[in-house]
Symmetry: C2
Subunit: 327 residues, 2 copies
Amino acid sequence: MTLAASSTLVAEQLADGLGRVERAFEAQLTSSFPAVDELCRHAERYRGKMLRPTLLLLAGIGASEDALVITESHVIAAATVEMIHMATLVHDDVLDEASVRRRGATVNFLRGNETAVILGDYLISNAFHLCSKIGDPSLNVRLGEVTNALCEGELVQLSRRHDLALDRPTYIEIVRRKTAVLVGACCEIGARLSGAPTPVTQACYRIGERLGIAFQIQDDLLDLTGDEETVGKSIGRDLEKGKLTLPTILYLERESAQARVAVLRAIELRDGDALKSLLMKSGAVDSAREFARSLVEEARAELTAIRQPQVRLVFDSLADKVVDRAN
Amino acid sequence: MTLAASSTLVAEQLADGLGRVERAFEAQLTSSFPAVDELCRHAERYRGKMLRPTLLLLAGIGASEDALVITESHVIAAATVEMIHMATLVHDDVLDEASVRRRGATVNFLRGNETAVILGDYLISNAFHLCSKIGDPSLNVRLGEVTNALCEGELVQLSRRHDLALDRPTYIEIVRRKTAVLVGACCEIGARLSGAPTPVTQACYRIGERLGIAFQIQDDLLDLTGDEETVGKSIGRDLEKGKLTLPTILYLERESAQARVAVLRAIELRDGDALKSLLMKSGAVDSAREFARSLVEEARAELTAIRQPQVRLVFDSLADKVVDRAN
């Protein structure tokens, strides 16, 4: 069998695994209360790229030494990370006062902030409940570390809103915590559940972490330069909510005092079009994109940790999609 | 040693245990980010009666067959349930738009809803992380069930806001889930961590569940009839937020169509004084209090499950304080 043919097999196996993840997800989120059940079905519509379960399953089959098998533990862990992600989306939409997500109305828009807050809590609670069923306490400890980091990232971001002095290292650290630690943990946990040794699980973590930072930078770029129709969710929220993102930080870092005034004014006036235009013309948007690409290359350089060459191929093509995407 | 003297020893042991719980709580909630740390210190000021850790520790020493020892697992579990409780307080204050809690400003009032939402998430996350350290996956599963029920109770309550047809069984079921399941689990887990057999842990659960429902009914009564100065938190929120509580439900259940009109009008006009006066005069407030007392008696009847008689005494006097309190 050629490498290409066997990587098609991997793709099929992955698709089958993701189907199992969806079923595990739905089975967990079933309530005897119709009002609760309806909310869960609504939240399920937020399911999009399934990036986190995909990475977990791929790392799982890629890091195993022999047969490429997706175990029940992989499926449960993958459904767990997707549920955690979905909880963050529901609460993020409250924070961002967003009305659109995956081309549909958000829970906060339809049912109010109160319901969205508790639905997010319900998703977090179910995620921990589901993960506990694997019966590996160290996995729960790890997951708790990850969600602690995630909340810390959000809290630090909130504390630095409207802070024009936010520098690049702090921005990267916020992004690492709020997004990349979970993505890294997906790769790490997938490998770990396949019995991979520590150097492999650590390399898998680094692959995910790099991809996670790159993914978030691209998300921030889409919020700045995309249109709602294509992106499928409310955009321009970062400017509205006083969140400085990489293009602005790079611009303020390297432009003259005079050039900085124009951008600071656009921020002050919440003028998204002016901000976008200034950041694009100056090359700051391109620089941010290049930085994200360099992180993808860093991740790619670690792909040797993935033992199965055909899975490595799939990872390789997935890596590009982290930054080369319009939604 | 007399029974009274040995129950003084229990009280001392409990006080020592609660000190250890506070230290475990603080050690868990320590962040390297000053902004996060400051929020945690603020949330810690919400710590009040420590009802949940107290019940967990008491059940733990009361259900053990031999020496009355509070183990490290008891301490961690007790800090965990308090952290879960604190997370619900922080999110409840967002839902209720409350500005005062334990005579201090709420997080949402001081820092906005966004920060309060994520701080609540951070507390939930830390609770699960802390509990995982006990290394007993079945405990994590149980805790997940409990927090699922808690969120379901809140979601059902939200879905029934402004619903004047809310009946008593549904109100009790909401209260059971949002408050009593956790209180019951405190007693159950305390006993379980002392190696008590299933019939004992189940009886302990029932004791806590009854006390939990009674506690919430009393909380709802204070929201209706108390004053902010004495209660120490924002009151009148139930009426403001369209939550029907037991006195109103009892009134609407048994009064004439004509008498009902006056209460419905007070609700419609959000006239807290009129509502309070009508419900008090009709005896509905007294009936609700009596119902809470009958639940306390039901709990008391199960106290034989507590093997240590001196602990039973402490439980007994604690039971009364669940309903006989002004804050």
